[in-house]
Amino acid sequence: MAVNRIPRGVNRTPGDRREKFPGYDVITQLPTWDVVTAGVVLRRLGPPPPIRYFTQDEEPIACALLDQILDQRHEPRVPVLQMIDARLAESQTDGWRYHDLPHDGQAWRDSLHALNDDARRAYGTDFGLLTWAKQGHIIAPIAGMNLHGTGDWHGMPAARVWSLWTRYATAAFYAHPWAWNEIGFGGPAYPRGYKNLGLDRREPWEVPDRDPDRDLVQLAREVEDARRHDTHYPHPPVIGLSRDPLHDEPEW
């Protein structure tokens, strides 16, 4: 077998969603990438390093929080927890901090413990052990405080805590080639470059969106209403929009 071939059974996208770009795999372009970039990207597909920064207590809180932020409900998951843990263990931060928050690593620790306190107060259980819906109920008010720009949460500015969590979460998730496949992103392009600029123009290896006219406003409204009002959150239409009814079994 050629050693440069990706085994066919290897995963291409994060779990659970019907593909918008069927069969698209950015990794097939690997032979056109420079070796330094290829090395950086391929490392993300290998086994993640062991948890070094988060304590045993913090790990399940962080894991559940990140699954919620990124809606990662099924394997295979992009190992966002391990990616963030590695960043914090290596102090690979942006350097700056808000005057009213400690540095990123400590802010993560403090905020995870505060989140667990909320869970215990509301349900008498650790955050990581709550059902998906209850975890969502705990998080939603913090996200809401962020949207409106003000508000103290356990002595921390809610907006800045929310920004910390979500920045780290999305920076990890959308660094991963599975996420690039999910969103149809063309990925690294040196030294090959791109030829076909313009609207509705694709490179020969890019895959068209098979569902270009979805109503995202409606989707977001349904989910966000459900978080506010409905203990059955997330209810079927939410996930249903992104599932393939022929092939995926509902799990709620």
Binding site: T37, G95, Y98, H99, G136, A143, A171, L197, R214, E224
Partner: protein, 560 residues
């Protein structure tokens, strides 16, 4: 004050390379011709042969920071025969092995040392506005290279806001022209400010830029392709842009300009030393003479001192004030050159809100340089509007991690976040650069926190004024209209900032600023500041070209 040294090795090299070539750009700055022609991006021989000075050699000039300001100054002085050492806190980059076509893998391009931000509107630093290493922030800037307008030099006289510069546009014009040739800048004939043309023709436009043009056209807003410091055609040994879209991650092609390729090679050929991975901790000062003596710096955990007859600080708007403040001594107890409490003040960022619009068509904005088309239609003060000065509009094309911030800014998370992101290829994103006004309390001070060297870190305090806020909201409304006119469905808005200038501003009098019109500090005759810190106002233009032009102008004054 500074004697002009004897011209040496440099002019011999230039004569040998370009005898008979007749290329006036190469004769002034041969950097593009000193890069390799093949698949490599770095002239390793030139770096191996780099002249090296001892710490106790009193060089003609030591420069702190090898970015837009310091890199340009180093080239100009070395080219004129000066013995120059430029120190940079970061690495001497090799685009082939140090940079990647990848967002997350480019974190090392930014200044990630500790800093504290506060104020009414704290400004996040790092990736968006602070570089490190040879080439500075221009390694990861988008590539837009507009000039300021003539009106920018007299905003107080004309519009009653900001402050007048102690120099005029006309005094900077020849340096703008020179730098536009050396980068080189590509774009359509420019109708705004002082009308001018660019040496390279406009690039083909991307999908999002087509929509920008269409939306603006429908509303009667003129647009122009460029101006971008990205080669459109071969320039020296630099190749044509390949439209790979990762301009903000460092150009692996050598197509997008940064001093690493536009000025440093010529500086090396003329005997300059680039000393990388050296963090300058303090400026040396002799109380008896009142002159700077050189710089103290840390390399490999060891403190060194480079003696020099002239010191030029070019660490950008946060680190330059920090270095002056950290260099306090008996004569300057509140920080070097800070007799009038001007150091660190009037620091500016541009309001840089962005609006993304959703189209049924596949836009795939990642495919071309994010800087594609822009408009300065709203740059100048309009008496009919409720604010002074104005903004520019540009295409920006965020990559996925950055685009996720747009989705988050709308309050989406969980399933909606993932679904909006799955829709990434359908979105076109436009950005505004708003001329926020200089305010004395927007400033750098020293924090109680120290870095790993034990040096106090910078604290950057920032707040918008009413004029800033009204202008930014107007810019957002305009971008929403443009996207609507282009046929966008849903829109997403993010409020953010871009660029840093000011903090050690140029003024006519010592009580109003830190440096004079030639960028010499008022307080110390052989200490210069040659970076974006010196801008008194910022216009609605990306600052890189202006910073380079100011450094080139200061150099012209120095070499006579």
């Amino acid at each position: 004050m500074v004697n002009r040294p004897v011209t040496g090795i440099g002019s011999r090299i230039t004569r040998r390379l370009f005898a008979g070539a007749g290329d006036h750009v190469a004769a002034r700055n041969a950097s593009a011709w000193l890069l390799p022609t093949g698949d490599e991006r770095t002239n390793y021989q030139l770096r191996r042969d780099m002249r090296r000075y001892r710490d106790d050699d009193e060089v003609d000039a030591v420069i702190v920071g090898a970015g837009a300001g310091g890199g340009t100054l180093a080239q100009r002085l070395a080219h004129a025969g000066w013995r120059v050492v430029a120190l940079d806190a970061g690495p001497f980059w090799d685009p082939d092995v140090d940079w990647v076509s990848d967002e997350a893998g480019s974190h090392h391009l930014y200044w990630n040392e500790p800093r504290v931000i506060d104020g009414i509107n704290p400004v996040p630093l790092g990736s968006n506005n602070s570089g490190r290493g040879v080439g500075g922030s221009m390694v990861h800037y988008a590539g837009y290279a507009p000039r300021l307008h003539p009106s920018d030099f007299a905003t107080y006289s004309r519009d009653g806001v900001g402050v007048d510069w102690p120099i005029t546009y006309e005094q900077l014009r020849p340096f703008y022209r020179d730098l536009e040739e050396e980068l080189p800048v590509a774009g359509e004939h420019w109708p705004w400010g002082e009308p001018h043309s660019y040496p390279h023709s406009p690039h083909p436009v991307s999908g999002d830029a087509l929509l920008f043009q269409a939306g603006c056209h429908a509303l009667g807003i003129p647009t122009k392709v460029g101006p971008v410091a990205i080669t459109n055609g071969r320039f020296g040994n630099r190749p044509h842009c390949i439209y790979r879209g990762f301009c903000l991650q460092g150009c692996k092609v050598n197509a997008k300009a940064s001093p690493l390729i536009t000025h440093i090679p010529d500086a090396l050929a003329h005997g300059a030393e680039i000393r990388a991975d050296c963090m300058v901790s303090r400026i040396g000062f002799d109380e008896r003479t009142g002159l700077a003596t050189g710089v103290h710096y840390l390399h490999g955990g060891v403190e060194h001192f480079q003696a020099a007859r002239l010191v030029a600080v070019a660490g950008y708007s946060i680190e330059t004030p920090r270095l002056l403040l950290n260099s306090a001594n008996r004569r300057f107890p509140d920080g070097l050159c800070n007799d009038h409490d001007q150091v660190g003040r009037y620091l500016m960022v541009q309001g840089a809100p962005q609006v993304a619009g959703r189209f049924s068509a596949e836009v795939r904005a990642y495919k071309a340089p994010p800087p594609s088309v822009s408009s300065e239609h709203y740059y100048e003060t309009d008496p009919g509007r409720p604010y002074q000065r104005g903004f520019s509009l540009q295409t920006v094309a965020p990559l996925p991690i950055t685009f996720a911030e747009h989705v988050l800014a709308e309050g989406h998370w969980g399933a909606p976040l993932r679904e909006y992101m799955r829709d990434y290829i359908h979105w076109a994103t436009f950005g505004a650069l708003c001329e926020f006004l200089p305010q004395p309390d927007n400033r750098v001070t020293l924090d109680a926190q120290t870095d790993r060297h034990g040096l106090p870190v910078a604290r950057f305090t920032f707040g918008e004024c009413d004029n800033d806020r009204v202008m930014a909201e107007t810019a957002i409304a305009t971008m929403r209209d443009v996207l609507g006119a282009a046929g966008a469905g849903e829109l997403m808005t993010i409020r953010r900032y871009a660029h840093l200038v000011g903090g050690a501003r140029m003024a006519a009098r010592p009580t109003d600023g830190v440096v004079d019109p030639d960028l010499r500090t008022f307080a110390i005759p052989n200490l210069y500041i040659t970076d974006g810190s010196v801008l008194p106002t910022q216009g609605a233009a990306n600052p890189a070209l202006t910073i380079m032009a100011l450094a080139a102008r200061a150099a012209a004054h120095l070499v006579g």
